[in-house]
């Protein structure tokens, strides 16, 4: 019965966070203000981090907070500033693909929803999953997934170099 309380709590938590995330996401793609959009994105990302916690992935959650909300958002804001997009409302951020976008999004959602329902109708998560420790993850990364890790590091390197090459004014 105790466990069940936890479950209920989890569910309620999930529901709240999910709602916030969805609203945030919607605002991101609808707001007319780039900066607002960025801030709403923060909300979504934070929500995502929270979900990770619910999914017993502390390390990822933390990384999410650090990298995304820390670095990426800052990047975005810088980008916004550097390109001197008007802070504040802007009229035409949307192009005439609006309706097509909605059409596609809905289609996709319907497709996925159907697929998911038919696949995992009411399958439950394992009751009390083992929380993944950082050590386990590091074992994973530097164990079986070493090669992808290297590849990734190269990608990052390339990205850094590329970013510099592109952005540097001369």
């Amino acid at each position: 019965m105790f466990a069940s309380d936890v479950l209920v709590a989890q569910n309620i938590g999930f529901a709240i966070i999910a709602t916030i995330m969805v609203i945030g996401a919607l605002r991101v793609v609808t707001t007319n203000n780039v900066v607002h959009a960025a801030l709403w994105l923060v909300v979504v990302l934070a929500g995502a981090a929270a979900q990770y916690v619910l999914l017993a992935a502390e390390f990822v959650a933390i990384t999410q907070v650090l990298v995304y909300i820390g670095a990426v958002m800052v990047l975005f804001l810088f980008g916004t500033m550097l390109t001197r997009t008007r802070i504040g409302a802007e009229s035409d951020l949307n192009n005439k693909n609006l309706f097509f976008g909605i059409f596609v999004a809905l289609t996709l959602f319907v497709a996925m929803a159907m697929a998911l329902n038919s696949e995992f109708g009411s399958e439950k998560m394992p009751a009390n999953p083992a929380v993944a420790t950082t050590q386990e993850i590091s074992d994973q990364i530097f164990g079986p997934y070493l090669l992808p890790f290297w590849a990734l590091s190269f990608v990052l390197l390339a990205a850094v170099v590329g970013a510099i090459v592109l952005a540097r004014r001369d």
């Binding site: 969805v22 793609v29 959009a37 995304y68 590329g162």
Partner: protein
């Protein structure tokens, strides 16, 4: 706690992201939408790894975060460049770059 609830959430985010990519005109906003998509993927990964009780999901989620960072970096650099060349980051105006 259902598996589906996470997956559905991810689906919703994904679709919203797609909508953003399609419907937005401002480069920065498009990048943001892409971030949304990536996150929804992450959620999926973690959900599944919890379901299967394996850690691969985590690993990949991390990788994705890293890649997202890189992508945003490059992306914004390009936006910057674009802005420098023609004082706007309106994607619709990219259309005259026919090879």
């Amino acid at each position: 706690m259902l598996v589906n609830q996470f997956l559905l959430l991810a689906a919703v985010l994904f679709c919203i992201g797609v909508y953003g990519v399609i419907a937005r005109k401002n480069a920065v906003l498009v990048l943001m939408s892409i971030e949304l998509i990536l996150n929804s993927v992450n959620i999926n990964l973690l959900a599944f790894s919890m379901r299967n009780g394996s850690l691969d999901g985590h690993t990949f989620a991390l990788y994705i975060i890293a890649i997202a960072a890189a992508e945003v970096g490059v992306g914004l650099a390009m936006v910057l460049l674009m802005y420098r060349n023609r004082r706007s980051i309106d994607l619709d105006e990219l259309s005259e770059m026919k090879g």
